[in-house]
Symmetry: C2
Subunit: 159 residues, 2 copies
């Protein structure tokens, strides 16, 4: 497996992987695709940076999207870590996250944040973040919907 | 004073009001201007909606910027309430906020959120939000900088 920058030809494969995520609503797929399109059409911005995991045979296994948080000195948001269902529990998400953390250390980031849902259907991603050193730092009640809170997980980087 | 939608001719006046805010850093002025430009060039989007307060003589007193929070059912973010220093404590900010709250009730919003800084220089805006029914709901430590936390204030709307 190798991890590389996003290219135009990746778009159909990434869209298929997004649509295969059973816990994603259509609006989430659309927002994720919007960020993919920004990364593809505006390669010099730093708001949405995408890395793609590719198998030896050229098949896409998943991707990760992160970017600089506006108005902060050295804080980054992790927007999406999405892996094809056939690759779950095979380390692809962890490899993508490690790649981003390496890039963040080079950028002298202080903090990486991720926003996720309190819904039971999001327990797998929440467990993934906890396993990788993230802790819940804050929550906004009834954010995505009534009873569906926004949880803000954070991971601190020390120089 | 009247409150109305934003127009192209407002841009220089709004920029001057932003630059007159002593507690704003240059990067904040730039982000605020970026949102003004989105509202001016893409009038049909709902991410950044701007209302302008104008004096009888046509002079701009300030503006407010809010929008739908992506991935939520009926939650809105309040991005900026900016009033020319000469109009502080004269009710312009409150009038702008009331206008937005009226529009939010029509849109059947559940929640209005604002993110602000914990810095002492932001005590005036924090007091403004508290006076207008907002409460601190969450904070992300060391967000804008080390020791400069992000405070998330919220106000709930009941149907």
């Amino acid at each position: 497996m190798k991890i590389r920058g996003i290219e135009k030809r990746d778009r159909p494969g990434l869209k298929a992987i997004l649509q295969a995520q059973e816990h994603f609503r259509p609006v989430e797929v659309q927002v994720a695709l919007d960020l993919i399109d920004i990364a593809l059409t505006q390669p010099n911005q730093e708001d949405y940076i995408i890395r793609v995991a590719e198998e030896e045979e050229g098949q896409i296994l998943g991707y990760i999207c992160y970017g600089k948080a506006p108005l902060t000195d050295a804080v980054y948001d992790l927007y999406w870590v999405v892996v094809t269902p056939a690759s779950w529990n095979r380390g692809t998400g962890t490899s993508l996250l490690r790649q981003v953390e390496e890039e963040l250390r080079r950028r002298q980031a202080r903090l990486l944040l991720i926003e996720t849902s309190s819904q039971p259907s999001y327990e797998v991603p929440r467990a993934f973040y906890r396993r990788n050193g993230f802790e819940e730092q804050a929550r906004v009640l009834d954010y995505y919907g009534i009873g569906d809170h926004k949880l803000i997980f954070s991971k601190t980087f020390t120089p």
